[in-house]
């Protein structure tokens, strides 16, 4: 894919704070128009990656291109940020201003034409559901409302790329649903969304592609279909001794949940063989449930592998 079609590209992007490695050699490409999920547990390096992409922190090594502009060319990167919206994980805005004034401020900072400010602000307030409270001081807002305002700020100026760092951390279920709808709306108009999150269902519902990071490293990257391609089957079996269970490991990755045995990575045509093996080992099969792996399963198994 040509450079022009990539919203973000990183090459061995790394960040160290003294002896602590926050991000170790991140290499990835995000095509323009994608909704990309950046998943990882707390402390995995997700926020560090976002800060590096925005020029808020400097990489120890490596390079990244954001809407075509390399981090190393500060001027080009600064100009490119005109087309980037950002909702920080730590969303704080001037509490002595109203939401409308905060949005005005950001219209000015982006460098939007004054003639479009009112329309942009009205649109952003409407999308994030703050139109009724637009003239109230931000200091009087709940955390959820402040996060909605931050989302509105990130949407100003119809950016080509929006980086959302844990965008629903302070939102109730209705707010989370609204954010998913906003992300779908962004995708519909061709905006690239970089969604930093540890909420797997959120990512699963809106993202085209996902990178799973842990300890500053990308453990796996790909489309959701690619990531979740490994089929799994759940078998409720009794009377199976440990030796028998060991034999089942030849079919795939094994996880025991009481009487249930979960076998990951087994091909569908091998399920009858699995059942036969269980019976041959003295087990009694009560139920067989084919299961499509969830992102949560995949996420946990990848992290477990990484820690093993």
């Amino acid at each position: 894919m040509s450079e022009a079609h990539l919203a973000i590209r990183t090459e061995e992007l790394a960040k160290r704070y003294g002896k602590i490695t926050a991000l170790a050699g991140l290499t990835m490409s995000i095509p323009a128009g994608d909704v990309f999920g950046f998943l990882g547990p707390n402390g995995a390096g997700k926020t560090t990656a976002v800060k590096l992409l925005l020029g808020l922190a400097r990489p120890t090594s490596g390079e990244a291109w954001v809407v075509g502009a390399p981090l190393s060319d500060q001027k080009a990167h600064r100009l490119a940020r005109r087309h980037v919206g950002y909702l920080p994980e730590l969303f704080r805005y001037q509490h002595w201003l109203s939401a409308r004034e905060v949005l005005h401020l950001h219209c000015e900072l982006i460098g939007l034409d004054r003639g479009v400010w009112e329309a942009e602000i009205k649109d952003a307030l409407g999308v994030v559901g703050l139109a009724d409270r637009a003239d109230d001081r931000v200091g009087g807002y709940s955390k959820g409302m402040q996060q909605r305002l931050g989302l509105g700020v990130a949407l100003l100026g119809r950016p080509a790329l929006v980086l959302l760092d844990e965008p629903t951390s302070a939102l109730d279920p209705v707010g989370r649903h609204d954010v998913r709808e906003i992300i779908r709306g962004l995708k519909a108009r061709g905006t690239t969304v970089f969604l930093n999150s540890h909420l797997l269902t959120e990512v699963e519902q809106v993202c085209d592609r996902v990178a799973i990071v842990d300890h500053g490293r990308v453990v796996q990257v790909g489309s959701l279909d690619e990531l979740l391609k490994a089929d799994a089957v759940r078998v409720r079996a009794t009377g199976l001794v440990n030796g028998g269970r060991d034999l089942l490991r030849t079919y795939g990755e094994l996880q025991i949940e009481g009487e249930w045995i979960v076998v990951r990575g087994i091909a569908a045509d091998r399920v009858p063989d699995l059942v036969r093996t269980i019976v041959e080992q003295g087990g009694r099969v009560h139920a067989v449930e084919p299961r499509h792996e969830t992102l949560e399963d995949r996420f946990l198994s990848l992290l477990e592998k990484g820690h093993a």
Binding site: L56, L79, V84, L97, H106, E108, L109
Partner: protein
């Protein structure tokens, strides 16, 4: 220009958070109290006889110097309190994240902060200084020899300490930076007195301590320039008769601030502002 957006934000914040209102009310109270004090000077009698007009003006000039010293000190403290959390506060709270991710360089952000603070210092020092001098003129008919130069020196003194506080704000929390800036301001003042003592006793080493202090933080040198602008010629002549010993008096200046010092101060502010930009470039919010 995005720096001006940030500058306007600084001024707006001062207005919204009622800093300007508080300063206005306090200044009016101080002006009213000192105005009443000045109005009592003509009522002073010596052996039952009111002071002659010349003596009233000399007493007024001395009282004005002491009043204005307090004013310059309050200005310095206010400048430090407002400037020291300007950058660190926004970095610590996270407010800086959304702003710095915009198409704006760190230097524009720092420049905007400085311009906004400088405007606040200049308007407050200029306004309050002019009101005080106007009230003194109204109640005792005394105008210092160079009122505009005086206000100029006080404004630059405020800008100097504000610039230092802004530099510290790039690395230290508001509380720590503020305390350090105020302590340095105090050291500079004491350094000026120490240098004066060195001059009085013709001790080169002690004189150099004063000179070095004045160069590291030129606030005391600027204060001496402000004092000179307030002194009537007769008072300068009388003070100069005391010889080099007068140099140790922090409320007296026998000579005006040399042009070389004034240029040095301009260079100092530019240098410290450059250091502020450099320091903030390396800061990761």
């Amino acid at each position: 220009m995005r720096a001006l957006v940030i500058a306007r934000l600084v001024i707006r914040e001062a207005g919204r958070r009622r800093l300007l209102l508080a300063l206005l009310i306090l200044t009016l109270i101080v002006v009213a109290l000192t105005g009443w004090g000045f109005s009592r000077i003509p009522t002073i009698t010596q052996r039952g006889v009111p002071l002659p007009d010349l003596q009233v003006k000399i007493v007024a000039s001395q009282f004005l110097i002491v009043t204005m010293f307090m004013f310059s000190f309050v200005l310095a403290m206010a400048a430090v309190f407002v400037a020291s959390p300007q950058i660190s506060g926004e970095v610590e709270s996270g407010t800086a994240l959304a702003i710095l991710s915009r198409p704006m360089g760190r230097s524009q952000y720092v420049a905007g902060k400085w311009i906004g603070l400088a405007a606040l210092v200049a308007v407050y020092a200029g306004g309050a200084g002019a009101i005080e001098l106007g009230v003194v003129n109204a109640v005792v008919g005394y105008i210092p020899p160079e009122p505009v130069a005086f206000i100029g020196f006080v404004i630059v003194e405020g800008l100097t300490i504000m610039t230092l506080a802004l530099l510290l704000s790039t690395r230290l929390s508001g509380m720590v930076g503020g305390v350090i800036a105020l302590v340095l301001f105090g050291i500079a003042w004491i350094g000026g007195i120490v240098g004066g003592i060195g001059t009085a006793f013709d001790n080169a080493a002690i004189t150099h301590v004063g000179t070095v202090t004045k160069l590291l933080l030129p606030t005391d040198g600027l204060w001496r320039g402000a004092v000179y602008a307030l002194e009537p010629q007769s008072f300068i002549a009388a003070g100069s008769q005391a010889g080099p010993a007068a140099a140790a008096n922090p409320f007296f200046a026998a000579t005006p601030a040399p042009l070389s010092f004034e240029l040095y101060v301009v260079g100092w502010v530019i240098l410290v502002l450059g250091l502020t930009v450099y320091s903030f470039h390396a800061r990761e919010p």
